[in-house]
C-alpha cells in the first residue's frame, strides 16, 4: 500500500505525546529500570527513552500478557457461576517506540492465535493497540533482522513508522493504516508535508548473515543431527529466551483458588522447561535439553513456516541478549546452515 509520508519535527514528538494523552490513550513506551530498557506505562514524555537498540522484553505483553485471567468462578449455595473476561475493560493503548522487528512479531503472534480457532481474547486486546514504530539507526552484534526477511526500516506491523533523518534530525512519519491516520488526526498540525526523502540512507546497515529459507530446507533433514547436543550443552534450561521473544506464544493454563472463588489464568510457559511436556505418568517426550533446544529452533524455522506460513523469528536478538549462558541464536543458525548433515 502506498503510505502517506509526512514530516514531524523532533521537538514535536513531545507535543504528539501530549495530544495522545489528551485523547485518553494509555501510552506504553521504552523506559529505563534497573539499567534495562523495558516497556512501561508512561505518563510523561520525559520517561520515554529514545537511546536504545532494543528493549529487554518484547511488546507481546500488550496482547499476550504474562498472566491474564481468562475466566472467574465462584461457588455459592445455588451452585457455580462462571464469568468470562469483559473486553470493555481493556484500555486503548498506544505502543510508542516499537522497533520494526518487534512490530512484525505481532503479526507472527497473530498467526498462532488465529489459525483454526480464533483467540478472541488476544484479538480484542490487539484491536485496541496502535503501534508507533521507530526504525533503527543503530544495531549491535545480536541483531539479524535482515537474515529473516526484515529490515531496520520495515513498515510491516506498524501503524505509523517514524524514521529519524540523521542524528538529532527530524522524523519521517509513514502513516500506514487507518489506526495511524487516526493518531495523526489527533495532532494534524504536527505532521507537515514531507519532501522527497530517501529514508534508507538513515537506516543502520544490518548485514545478512544467513538465508532463512536455506535454514528451513536444511532443517527438514537435520532432526537427528548431533549438532543439537553440541549447541545445547551450554543451555541451562531456563525460560529467559522464550519470555523475551516477540513470537513465543506457548502458555500454561492454571487455576488460582481463593476460598470459594477464584480464577483461571493463562500464563507464559516455555518449551525449554523440562516440565513442559512431562506426562503425569512420568513419561517425557522431550526428556533432555538438546531435544528441547531442537524444538525451539525447529518450531520457529520449520514447523511455523510449514503450518502458518510465517517464520517464528524476527531477528531481534533478544533471546541471545537475555541468555545467561550467552547462547547466541544467530551463531547457531549459521552453524546449522553451514553444517554438513
Amino acid at each position: 500500500m502506498n503510505s502517506d509520508r509526512r514530516l514531524i519535527r523532533k521537538d514535536s514528538l513531545e507535543k504528539l505525546f501530549k495530544a495522545l494523552k489528551q485523547n485518553n490513550k494509555t501510552i506504553i513506551g521504552p523506559a529505563l529500570q534497573n539499567g534495562k530498557i523495558s516497556y512501561k506505562i508512561s505518563n510523561n514524555y520525559s520517561e520515554i527513552t529514545s537511546d536504545y537498540i532494543q528493549t529487554t522484553q518484547s511488546s507481546k505483553e500488550i496482547a499476550f500478557p504474562r498472566t491474564e485471567k481468562i475466566l472467574a468462578y465462584s461457588k455459592n449455595a445455588e451452585g457455580m457461576s462462571v464469568k468470562g473476561i469483559d473486553i470493555k475493560d481493556i484500555p486503548e493503548i498506544v505502543l510508542w517506540g516499537v522497533r520494526p522487528c518487534d512490530a512484525i512479531g505481532i503479526g507472527e503472534l497473530s498467526a498462532i492465535f488465529n489459525w483454526d480457532y480464533k483467540d478472541e481474547i488476544f484479538n480484542n486486546r490487539l484491536s485496541k493497540v496502535t503501534v508507533l514504530g521507530f526504525s533503527c539507526s543503530k544495531a549491535d552484534e545480536y541483531c539479524f533482522c535482515t537474515s529473516v526477511g526484515g529490515n531496520p526500516g520495515n513498515t510491516e506491523g506498524s501503524d505509523i513508522l517514524f524514521t529519524q533523518l540523521g542524528e538529532n534530525g527530524d522524523y519521517l512519519a509513514e502513516i500506514l493504516t487507518e489506526k495511524g491516520s487516526l493518531i495523526v488526526s489527533m495532532a494534524e498540525a504536527l505532521f507537515e508535508r514531507a519532501g522527497k526523502v530517501e529514508k534508507e540512507k538513515f537506516l543502520v546497515d544490518v548485514p545478512v548473515r544467513f538465508n532463512h529459507e536455506d535454514v528451513r530446507n536444511k532443517l527438514t533433514t537435520f532432526f537427528e543431527s548431533g549438532e543439537w547436543v553440541q549447541q545445547s550443552l551450554k543451555c541451562l534450561g531456563c525460560g529467559a529466551c522464550a519470555y523475551v521473544c516477540p513470537t513465543c506464544a506457548c502458555f500454561d493454563i492454571q487455576d488460582e483458588a481463593h476460598g470459594k472463588s477464584g480464577s483461571r489464568v493463562r500464563c507464559w510457559d516455555s518449551c525449554g522447561f523440562s516440565l513442559f511436556t512431562l506426562h503425569t505418568s512420568g513419561h517425557n517426550p522431550r526428556e533432555v535439553q538438546s531435544q528441547r533446544w531442537r524444538q525451539r529452533i525447529m518450531h520457529k524455522f520449520s514447523y511455523m513456516p510449514d503450518r502458518l506460513s510465517v517464520f517464528g523469528c524476527t531477528g531481534c536478538g533478544r533471546c541471545s541478549r537475555a541468555c545467561p549462558a550467552d547462547m547466541n541464536i544467530l551463531e547457531h543458525l549459521i552453524s546449522i546452515q553451514e553444517a554438513t548433515v
Binding site: E61, P65, R66, E68, I85, E256, H258, G262
Partner: protein, 149 residues
C-alpha cells in the same frame, strides 16, 4: 478499627504445646477465641511455606509453638526448627514482612496458663496492629485481570 477481630493461626507440636493448649481448656482458663490451632507431629515439621500460606489465606497473625529446648519428643526437632526460624524470621524482616505478626514460643504440656497468656497477648498486640492489609493486598493479585511487567 475498634471492632476488628484478628484471625490467628497457631502451628503447634503435638507433644507439648498441643497438650498444653488442651490443659488450658481442661483447667477452664478462658482465653481469646481468635486462634485456629493446626497440630503437627513436631515443630521440625512446620515448613516456613505453611506460615506464608497462612498469610495468603488471610491470617493477621501467626503463632508457632513447640516443646522447650531439650524436651523434644524426637530429641532435636525443636533445635532444628529454631535454626530455621532464626533465618526465616530474618529474611521476613528484610523483605518487610511484619515480623511482629509471627510469634514463636515454647509451651510445655504443663504450661496451660502460659498458652492462654501467649494467645491473649498476641491477640491484643495484633488487634492493635490492625488487619494485615499490606499482605492481603498482595495475596489478592491473582485476581487481577492482567498482570504486565
Amino acid at each position: 478499627m475498634a471492632d476488628f477481630e484478628p484471625r490467628i493461626v497457631a502451628f503447634v507440636c503435638n507433644w507439648c504445646t498441643y497438650a498444653g493448649a488442651d490443659l488450658t481448656g481442661t483447667s477452664r482458663i478462658k482465653y481469646a477465641s481468635n486462634v485456629r490451632i493446626v497440630r503437627f507431629p513436631c515443630t521440625g515439621r512446620i515448613d516456613y511455606m505453611l506460615l506464608i500460606e497462612a498469610f495468603n489465606e488471610g491470617a493477621d497473625g501467626i503463632i508457632v509453638s513447640g516443646c522447650h529446648p531439650n524436651d523434644c519428643h524426637y530429641t532435636s526437632g525443636n533445635f532444628h526448627a529454631r535454626r530455621r526460624w532464626i533465618m526465616f524470621r530474618s529474611l521476613c524482616d528484610f523483605m518487610g514482612i511484619d515480623i511482629r505478626r509471627i510469634k514463636f514460643s515454647w509451651v510445655s504440656a504443663a504450661e496451660g496458663a502460659k498458652w492462654a497468656d501467649i494467645v491473649n497477648k498476641t491477640v491484643t498486640e495484633i488487634r492493635a496492629l490492625g488487619p494485615y492489609d499490606e499482605y492481603k493486598k498482595v495475596a489478592k493479585t491473582p485476581e487481577k485481570e492482567v498482570i504486565h511487567g
